[in-house]
């Protein structure tokens, strides 16, 4: 029972972080039809930036307990590169999808070295800082409170995003532009601005995800390329463009990975890819998406 709970909690934590990145991907794809291979790079940027921010604050006498808000802010600030990247992507909007993929791939390559330039080749971490919030007893387990806080934050963000898309005016504009760009343009929507905002929002979700994960994992140069595969597994399983899909997919991937690591570690990513392929065979559009062909 304890082992099971351990796996579930670990899986849900991982899912919480994955959800943020996947939500960012879905938003950008849903509205702009761009698949961003550099999502992992943004994630890593958030992670490294978060570490630097917290280290700097601690060195300047901040109380350790404030590290979570610092991480959140650091994640948001790192996401501010969004508009600049989006401006670059503008050049290939109207062209074949292949060029978009290539452009974001080029960004992956460039980010690798940018990260290395600023933070070096060694993985970085925050040591035991995660323990500042202590532990909580869940069943027979001792779970770091931080993990539960992150899960909570992710749920809150998910709910917030949902409300934002359904209830606010801007959210409705986003959904309209996603459905029919020409129509939105004809109705006076400043599509350029919508695109820039959406991309920035998507980027921030990724950078915040990365920032939130660092107390429990190290930031390394492998992050950008490794996360992409997991994030894509999430959006494929959940269905490209669907927020509910991001949630469902993140849970599936997070739990599956935790289960695989715990029981048969060779299967770790293998199990995930097999599920991706399985889902695509049975439901080509993913769990919540629309089939495409």
């Amino acid at each position: 029972m304890t082992a099971f709970l351990d796996v579930v909690l670990g899986g849900v934590f991982h899912a919480a972080v994955l959800f943020l990145v996947a939500a960012g991907l879905q938003l950008v794809f849903g509205v702009q039809k761009i698949v961003n291979l550099a999502c992992g790079s943004f994630y890593a940027l958030g992670a490294y930036f978060g570490i630097s921010a917290v280290s700097w604050c601690l060195a300047h006498g901040m109380a350790p307990a404030l590290f979570l808000p610092v991480l959140l802010v650091a994640g948001l600030v790192a996401g501010l590169i969004g508009p600049f990247i989006e401006a670059l992507l503008l050049t290939v909007y109207h062209r074949d999808e292949a060029f978009q993929l290539l452009l974001t791939f080029a960004l992956v390559l460039m980010f690798q070295d940018v990260l290395r330039f600023f933070w070096g080749a060694d993985p970085q971490q925050l040591g035991d800082l995660v323990m500042t919030y202590g532990r909580v007893k869940v069943g027979a387990l001792q779970v770091p409170t931080y993990n539960l806080l992150v899960i909570g934050a992710s749920v809150a963000i998910a709910a917030g995003l949902g409300a934002f898309l359904q209830k606010t005016r801007f959210g409705r504009i986003l959904r309209a532009t996603a459905e029919n760009r020409e129509m939105s343009l004809a109705m006076g929507v400043n599509v350029r601005w919508v695109y820039a905002s959406v991309f920035t929002l998507g980027t921030m979700l990724g950078t915040v995800g990365g920032a939130l994960v660092v107390p429990t994992a190290a930031a390394s140069l492998d992050m950008p390329v490794e996360l992409v595969v997991e994030a894509f597994a999430v959006v494929v399983i959940g269905g490209l463009g669907s927020m509910r899909g991001a949630l469902a997919g993140a849970l599936v991937v997070g739990l599956l990975r935790a289960a695989a690591i715990s029981w048969y570690s060779e299967l770790e990513m293998l199990a995930i890819y097999l599920v991706v392929i399985g889902v695509l065979v049975v439901r080509p559009g993913g769990l919540f998406g629309r089939p495409l062909e």
Partner: protein, 319 residues
């Protein structure tokens, strides 16, 4: 005119060992390998319009095929190794293709990426079978029955092996040329241009995509086998998705709209990377920047540039 240019290039490449230092010649070997792999890739991308982000899967199958066959099964004939590895790649391509050709555009790319990473994961984790992250050694094969035992590794690589690969590239390029100019090739291009209309004109879209996918796998594996023999090792990084990304990069660099584009791309990329690595430790950054430049400013790649200059030359001179 074009034929003359191709022949000149061919002779030049064949003559390189006489002109360049062994170090540089060993650089040309991967270029030859990638040229072959990319000819296959471009059949799928340039001609059929399907962008695969998992072509490295077949390159890796070729590499590991050469490794397993030579060091674990004692097979030394390079011809047998090439055929068996390529056959294995096609065998893998068929079930994947049956699934993947139902999708287009981004889904095809993601699905192929997933399969590539599936293989990578398998190679990485199943240490007992695959040697894990170290991989498996590749032993020197015999070429057309001759073992050249008296030659040391480098001399063999820049000598018999080099000429063998140049010949292989020539033969495979010729076959691909006939393929793309055949009725089959015409139907492939039709599926790229307008899938629905192609169907109404009797083109068997899915079946032909599957065939193109399988042929690309065949070529990919042969390229992979050459790569592995060159380095003497097959390792999981051959299958990583970023390796697939580099394959796409090379093709677009050379120009995917042109038959020779991929070959130009392979050679250019290898030399570009070599120069950059020598100049700075941040070569990935510059490589990425160059890719952005190409995508934004020169989408038709280097061969597209040459074509444009050629056209301008012809226009300015009276006929």
């Amino acid at each position: 005119m074009k034929i003359a240019a191709v022949l000149v290039a061919f002779v030049a490449v064949a003559a390189l060992p006489r002109v360049l230092s062994p170090y540089h010649v060993t650089l040309v070997l991967p270029a030859l390998a990638y040229s072959i792999a990319l000819l296959g890739f471009n059949l799928l991308f340039g001609y059929t319009g399907l962008l695969s982000f998992g072509h490295a899967l077949f390159v890796a199958i070729g590499g590991y095929g050469a490794a397993v066959l030579s060091s674990k099964l004692g097979l030394r004939s390079f011809e047998a190794i090439l055929l068996l590895s390529a056959a294995a790649a096609v065998a893998v391509a068929i079930p994947i293709g049956l699934l993947a050709v139902r999708y287009v555009k981004i889904f095809f790319g993601i699905l192929t990426l997933a399969f590539g990473m599936l293989f990578h994961s398998f190679l990485f984790k199943f240490y007992d079978l695959t040697g894990g992250d170290t991989g498996i050694r590749v032993l020197r094969p015999s070429l057309l029955g001759r073992a050249y035992e008296d030659l040391d590794k480098t001399t063999w690589l820049v000598g018999p092996f080099y000429y063998y690969c140049v010949g292989l590239l020539a033969v495979l390029a010729f076959v691909m040329w006939r393929l793309v100019h055949s009725p089959f090739g015409l139907h492939l291009v039709a599926t790229r241009e307008n899938r629905r209309k192609a169907e109404y004109l009797g083109v068997r879209v899915r079946f032909f995509r599957l065939i193109a996918f399988s042929i690309s796998a065949f070529y990919g594996a042969i390229g992979g086998a050459i790569l592995a023999v060159n380095t003497g090792q097959a390792d999981p990084e051959l299958a990583y998705w970023t390796h697939s990304g580099e394959l796409v990069f090379m093709t677009v660099l050379g120009g995917f709209g042109n038959f020779f584009g991929p070959i130009v791309g392979a050679f250019s990329f290898i030399f570009l990377k070599d120069q950059l690595v020598g100049l700075t430790q941040y070569w990935r950054f510059w490589l990425g920047a160059i890719l952005i430049l190409i995508v934004v400013l020169f989408p038709r790649g280097l061969s597209g540039l040459v074509e444009r200059m050629w056209a301008r030359l012809h226009r300015s001179t009276p006929s």
